[in-house]
Amino acid sequence: MTDIDISLTPEQQVYRDQLKCGFKQLDAVFADCMEEAEAVFSEQGIADYLSGASLVCMIGRGFEPVLIYLEEMPQIVQCTDESMIKTISQCVWDFSRTPNGKSILPFLQSIPEAARRLGSTEQLQHYIDVIFDMMKRTTRSIHGHVDTIPSDGLPELLNQTTYLLHELSIEGIKNWIDYGADNYRNHPERQKDYFSLQSADSRAVFQRERHGTLFTDNERKLNLYMHGLWQDHDHFVPYSLGFDELRKPKPYYDSLGIRVPDVYDDHAGISGINRYRATIAHIAAHRRWGEAIWADNFSPFQRISIEVFEDSRIEYLAIQKYPGLRSIFQALHPYPIEGSCDDVHSSCLLHRLAMISYGLLNPEHGYKESKINEFIARFHEIMEQGEAGINDMVQLGISYIAQSKQASDSFPNIIFDNTVVDYRDDNRHLWKFIEEGDEEESFDDKKEFERDEHDVDKLPPRHYPEWDYNSKTYRPDWVSLYETLHYKGDPEKINQILAKHDSLAKRLKKMLELLKPQQMVRIRYQEEGSELDLDVAIRSIIDFKSGHTPDPRINMSHRNDGRDIAVMLLVDLSASLHEVPEGCDQSILELSREAVSLLALTIEQLNDPFAIAGFHSDTRHNVRYLHIKGYSEHWDDEVKSRLSAMEAGYSTRMGAPIRHAAHYLENQPADKKLLLILTDGEPADIDVDDEHLLIEDTRKAVEELSSKNIYTHCISLDKKADDYIGDIFGKNGYTVIDHVEKLPEKLPQLFMSLTK
C-alpha cells in the first residue's frame, strides 16, 4: 500500500487512539469519516461512534463492515437519532454470534436505506427487530440445541429489502416476513423462493400488504364510474407493476378488456382512486370519440406526434363534459421544463411534444417557444370550431413534425425526463395495419390447443384460500380444487337399497305429510279475520270509552308461509369410509350411500332445491369435488348411477370443498340455505402436520358461510367427534351419530327436524 497523506489533527489523533482497530486501510479514510462525524454527532455521540466501530472491528469479518459502519452512521443518525449508534454496533455483534455471519454485510448495507425510508428511530428499531426475528426463526440446528445452520432465506430477504421498503410499510414487511418464516421454516428451497419474491404465494401475500389504492378493493367503484359517467362497460384486467422492472407496462385496452395497474399510490395530491378514474376517463374518452386509422403511411415520429394531439383532443372533449377532470389530468401530467433538454446532443422530440401536451391541458403553461405556442393556438382553434375528428389531429401532428424537425431528433440519446404521462394508455387501439408484419406467414398460428380426451368433463382448477390460525391470515390461493362429474355405476343398486328400506321410506313419507302445512304467519290489523286480536281489541275499547275513534281492525288472520329452503349435501369420501364399524355388517360407505339415497328421496318429495357432492383430498394441490346431483337435476337414474358408483379414498381436507359448495348454494334464490356435511372424522390431510390447522380452517370456512346466510350442519359418524366438532360448527351446528347402522334412518329425520 502506498503512503498517502494521512496527517491527522491532534484532536483526530485522540479519536484515532480511542478506535481500537488495526486495519491499515482505516488510516486512509479515518480523517474524512471523522470530519463528517464531528459535524453531526455530539461529544457523547462521537464516543459511542468510536466504541461502536471498535466492536464492529472485533467481529473478525475484515475491514468492509467497519468501513460501512463508519461511513454510513452519520447519515443514519441524521434520519433518526444518536441512540442508533450503539444499537447498530450491538446488532452487528449479535449477528456475528450466529451462524449467519455472511449476511452481516448486506444487513449493514440495508440500514441506511431503511433509515431514509422509515425516517424515525422507532421505525428503524422495528425494522431491525423484524430482521432479527426472521433470522432466529429460520436458523436451524441439528440436534435442537445450538444453532448451526444459517438461515436460507435471510440473504434473499436482505437482497430484497430496498424493494420491500419502497413498496410496503414496516407492518407490511413484518406480515410478509412472518408468513414466509411460518410456512417455510422447514423447506430451505421454498424458503429461498419465498424470500426472493419468486413463488406465487410470496407475491400474493406481498400484493395484499402493499400500500396504495388496490384495484381489487375498488373494482366495483370503477365499474360504477364507467357505467355512471361514461355509459360504457368492459372487463378490467389488472396487471402488476411490481415485478416487471425492465419495461413498465402502461394501461391499454383491446378486445379482451381494459388493462389497468393493480395498485396506484397517491401522487401529486391526487388520490389513488382518482388516478384510476383519470386512466379510465382517458380510455373511455378514446372509446367514445376516437377511431382507428391506418398506420402504414406514417413515420414513427409522425405517429408519436399524432398520438399526442389525439390524446389531447379526446381529453379536451372529456373536460368539456366533466370540467373537474382538468385539475386531475393537469396534476398527473408531468411538467416538462422549457430549456431543460439539450437539443445539440440529444433527441428532444418527446420533450417538445410533452410540452405541447402539457400546454394544451394547462392554459398557464408559460412556455415561450413560438412553435409550441403556435400549435397550442392552432389546436384550440380547431377544437372551438366544433366536432373535430382524428383527421384534424393527423394534419396537426404531421405539420408539427414537418415544421419543428431538428437534426438531433434522430439521435439515439432520447430524453425521457418528464415526458411519460402515466395515466394515458399506450394508444395501440389507434392504429390499424394493412400488413400485419414483415415475416412470412408462419405455420404456428394454425395450431390449436389440443384437448386431452381424458379431461373432457374436468373443469379447470379453482383456487381457494386457507386460514392459518398461527398468523391469523389467509394463505392466498392455497388449495387447488378440481370439480368433476362423478363417474357412473348401476342405478339398479340404488333402487334395491330403496326397496330394502321400503318400510322406513313409508314411515318417512308419513312424517313428510306432517311437515307439509308449514309455518303460519299472523297478519294483524284485519277488519275481518279468523281470530280476535286481543291486544288491539282492548286498545279499541279503551279508545271508545275515552271518547276517541276506535280502530275497527281488531281481528287477525293467518297465512301459510311457503317453504323456501335450498339444500346442499356434502359427503366426505375419504379412505376411512371403507371401515366396517363394530357390530355392523356394512362399511360406512355403504351406510352413507343408503342414507344419502333416502335423504334424496325425502327431499325430492318436499320439492326443495337440492344438490349432492362428494369430496376427498390428496394434499392441497389436489382436492377433488365430485358432482353427484345438481340443483337442476332430478332424482333420476342418472343421479342414482353416480351415487351407486360412490367410492372412498384419500383424505379429508374440508375447507375448500365447503367454500366451493357455498358458491353454488349462494346463487340459489331460496330464503334459507342449508349445507349438510356428512363426515366420519376430523379434517386432516397428508401434507399437514399440525392437526389444528385444518380444523381451524374449517371453522373459518363455516364462519364465512354464516356471514353469507348459509346455515351449516355437520353429521359426524366419529364417536370421538365431541372433542373438536363443537369448535368447528358451533354448539348447535352438529349431530354425532353413535350407532352408525342407524344412519339411513337418522339422516332424513334429522333433515326434517332441521327444516321443520
Partner: protein
Amino acid sequence: MSDQDIKQYQISEEPYYESQEDEVALYEAAYEARLPVMIKGPTGCGKSRFIEHMAWKLGKPLITVACNEDMTASDLVGRYLLDANGTRWVDGPLTTAARIGAICYLDEVVEARQDTTVVIHPLTDHRRNLPLDKKGEMIEAHTDFQLVISYNPGYQSLMKDLKQSTKQRFSALEFDYPSASVETSIVMKEAGTSEDIAQKLVKIAVTARNLKGHGLDEGISTRLLVYAANLMNKGIEAKAACRMALVRPITDDTDIRDTLDHAIDSIFA
C-alpha cells in the same frame, strides 16, 4: 255535500307543469271519455304534479289518497263510526269523489293490498257505480267522476304488482324523467336558479340514472334536483348541496356514494 266541502278539493292556482310530450292532450281525451287512467313512472318524475295540473286545467276537484300496506277497503269507501248517539256512516275519499264528481287519485296504488284494490273495479268499467255493502247503498258515480291511479313499476318487489284484472281497466300513460332540456327548464323555473347550474344538476342526475340496476334502485329524481337548487339558493356551496340533496338520500352503498361524489366534483369543478 255542500259547496264548501267541494271547494276544498278545487285547485285554485295553476300548478307549474312543463309538458314532456303530448300527455296533456292524451289525458284530456281520456277525461272526455271518462276513461280511468293509470300513470306509471319512477319516483319524483312529476306524476302527482301532472294530475294536479290536469285537475286545475279541467276545473275539477281532486281527491288524493296515498296508499299504504295497512289500508283496507273501508279506508277507501267509508265506515260506520261510533258516536254519542249510536253509529254514523262516514264516506271514504273514494265515495266522496264519486258523489261530488271529483278526480280521485290513488297514489302508489300497488302499496295497498290486492284485496283492497278490488273495490275500485265497479267504478272503472261500464257500471260506474260503487256498492256500499255495509250501508246497503249503491252510489252511481257523478258524471264528472274519474279515477286515476299511479304506480312505480321500478322499485317495488315482485310480490307487489297489480292484478291483471285491475290493470286491464285502465288506460295508461308512461312517464319517464324529462329530457335534459326540459328538465333543465323545470329546475330553473321551480327553484329559480341559473341555466348553468340547472344544466349541471341534470348532468349529475343522468349519471345516477345510468347506475340504476347496479346497486341503485332508482335514479336521482327531478324533485331532488329542485331540492339541491333550493339549498344552493340558501347560500349552500354547490357541491355540499348536491351531496346533501342528491346523493345521501338515495344510497347507503359507499361505492355508489363515492362514484356520485366524484361525478359532482367533476361537474362542479
